[in-house]
């Protein structure tokens, strides 16, 4: 008693306000409804719900379905952030409904629920995940190793090596990252964050024998260099998988294993070179080096913007100055063996 109610031993009871009958506020749930078989266009439907204390968002959606409207469709299964099926857009951003406390997303007594983005709606909050799975399949999400192992022996991996694929292994395929990916939004061919995070899990697996083949393929168009670094995927990811960080690791593998014949890798290399030389970015050199000196078509395409900037006096200074104390910076580069 003493520990459970410290207030009582301090005599604070007397000063506490008598328990009031708290009038519970109803929360408005605005849910996007759409049945492509019947409806012309999606519409928002509003529900009111007294949100029980401690309820997750999924609890709320379940209550709405069970007590108000059985026609509402959505996916769910485990209710504990394992199966990855309950992701939906909550106030505009993808999240797992079962991992979200309702009180954290109620703003001005309102929650807006929509289906995940970048996919077509099957009904209401359920989307067609087929394109999502197809992309994951494209990266060969399995271990490739044809070496014989004797019966009863496993392919061992050191804890350090496991650590390299630890994060990506936590992905639960909820498609939250895919839903909010900026690059996916403008290009349906892009491999997307989930597939790339999964790819990292195999590219960096010490037991896999196809690293070079994998990274070469991933460096082609619509792969690792088609990510804009926007960070939406990692921000939305409910696990440690954090796709953007995995994509950066893949780029690191590509750059350090000599898969350089593409605009993305050339851009990164030119960038590092520029800093190694002068401490600052040489904006005049970068486009030429990124696209390659002989990419006449590409260079002609950016000519108009260059001329436009020149006319406004917005072109980067023609003479590029180094920063002061450049010898210190050169020493740091040398110490890290860069640029290679």
């Amino acid at each position: 008693m003493f520990f459970l109610f410290p207030g009582s031993c301090l005599g604070m009871q007397d000063h506490e306000a008598p328990p009031r009958s708290i009038k519970k506020m109803k929360t408005k749930f605005k849910i996007r409804r759409f049945d492509p078989q019947k409806d012309q266009a999606p519409r928002f439907q509003e529900y009111e719900l007294e949100v029980p204390q401690g309820a997750t968002l999924l609890d709320c959606v379940n209550l709405i379905k069970w007590t108000q409207d059985g026609t509402l469709s959505y996916r769910m299964s485990c209710r504990s952030a394992i199966c990855g099926s309950c992701a939906m857009k909550v106030n505009g951003h993808a999240r797992l409904a079962c991992k979200t406390q309702a009180k954290d997303v109620i703003k001005n007594n309102l929650v807006v629920l929509e289906p995940l983005g970048n996919m077509t709606v099957i009904k209401d909050l359920a989307v067609d995940l087929e394109p999502f799975w197809e992309k994951v399949e494209k990266v060969m999400p399995w271990l490739v190793n044809d070496e014989e192992v004797s019966p009863g022996v496993e392919r061992l991996q050191s804890p350090e090596d496991f650590h390299k694929i630890d994060a990506a292994s936590t992905c639960i395929m909820c498609a939250s990252c895919f839903s909010d990916c900026c690059s996916e939004e403008v290009d349906k061919e892009y491999l997307g964050p989930t597939a790339l995070a999964k790819a990292q899990r195999f590219v960096c697996d010490s037991r896999d024998k196809k690293q070079f083949e994998r990274i070469s393929k991933l460096s082609k168009e619509k792969g690792i260099w088609d990510c804009t670094h926007c960070g939406e995927c990692s921000q939305r990811c409910p696990t440690d998988a954090k796709p953007l960080e995995r994509i950066v690791e893949l780029r690191n593998v590509a750059l350090n294993s000599g898969v350089l014949n593409n605009n993305g890798a050339r851009h990164a290399k030119a960038f590092v070179d520029s800093i190694a030389k002068s401490g600052r970015l040489n904006e005049n050199e970068l486009p030429v080096k990124s696209m390659g000196f002989f990419n006449i078509k590409g260079l002609l395409e950016i000519l108009p913007v260059g001329i436009r900037m020149l006319i406004r006096g917005k072109n980067p200074p023609l003479i590029h100055h180094s920063i002061e104390d450049m010898d210190q910076v050169k020493k740091i580069f040398r110490e890290f063996g860069e640029p290679k």
Partner: protein, 290 residues
């Protein structure tokens, strides 16, 4: 108020109007900007891809320079701010990384002790100066301006480093706009990516992003936009004619750098703010002094 001023590469290159307008605004606000002529590029998230330790070390060196000056760093580039905050986090969480970074600076008289604060102008305007103070300083209310805020990825994500109250649904720039007498315009896309990081790799996609956001702002009533990141500005302004073609819409939406917008409201002339450097120019009636 006094800061170690880190303009970043772009504000010393293709967006010199950003540096000039920051200096004009700082003068007006009584902020002293001390240059850092020996600071390197932050790496813009690109050096990390080649060599994460090198990238952190270069930033540690910049932090050490500011610590030696005894000043906090002022950024005016959203990307520099994001990259530096991330470097600080990594160096803080790993004593080994910090030690490594300091070791490679040995002999230069520099050491990073994890003390310096890294601030973006946006955060300084909101937290140190405050909307109320700015409001009281307004000489030319932005009455006719309906402004779409474009935050830029690095100002928002990762949310825990953004310094914004609710990075998934921020209103900091909108509040500034209101304080300056303008009208903030909400539109889908204000928190999305401008596309700039891959404009050289995937131009069409990059400019589709920019075009979509500008046209969404316009359709929701904006007659101009504002951004705290010069990289976003590069994709939103100089490339706008191409973006318009790609999305098949007439755009013509002028884009403020953050200090230009604030400076204009505080009575600094459009000339001093170098508004004429933009590819898409403001109609004179919108920005002339009153």
């Amino acid at each position: 108020m006094k800061f170690a001023f880190y303009p970043g590469c772009v504000a010393q290159g293709a967006a010199r109007e950003l540096k000039a307008s920051t200096e004009a605004l700082a003068k007006k606000l009584g902020i002293e900007l001390v240059p850092m002529p020996n600071a390197t590029c932050c790496g813009a998230g690109v050096i990390t891809e080649q060599n994460p330790v090198l990238s952190n070390t270069l930033n540690a060196r910049t932090f050490a320079i500011a610590e030696k000056m005894g000043l906090d760093i002022l950024n005016i580039c959203g990307t520099c701010q994001g990259v530096m905050k991330k470097a600080q986090k990594e160096l803080k969480e790993s004593p080994k990384k910090l030690e490594e970074a300091n070791k490679s600076m040995a002999g230069s008289g520099l050491e990073y002790r994890g003390k310096v604060k890294v601030r973006h102008l946006l955060n300084v305007l909101i937290e140190d100066i405050g909307a109320d103070k700015l409001k009281s300083m307004v000489r030319r209310p932005l009455k006719d301006l309906r402004i779409g805020a474009f935050y830029g990825c690095y100002a928002l994500r990762p949310g825990e480093l953004s310094g914004l109250k609710d990075p998934d649904n921020p209103d900091e720039i909108e509040n500034l706009v209101r304080a300056l007498g303008g009208e903030p315009v909400d539109y889908p896309g204000r928190l999305r990516c401008c596309g700039f990081p891959y404009v050289m790799m995937s131009k069409r996609n990059a400019l589709t992003m920019a075009g979509n956001h500008i046209s969404a702002a316009k359709e929701n009533g904006a007659n101009c936009m504002v951004t705290p990141c010069p990289l976003c500005h590069l994709n939103l302004d100089p490339y706008q004619p191409e973006s318009a073609k790609i999305v098949g819409k007439e755009l013509n939406v002028p884009i403020f750098h953050l200090p230009q917008m604030v400076g204009l409201a505080l009575g600094i002339s459009p000339k001093e703010l170098q508004l004429s450097k933009h590819i898409i120019r403001f109609k004179e009636s919108l920005t002339q002094s009153r």
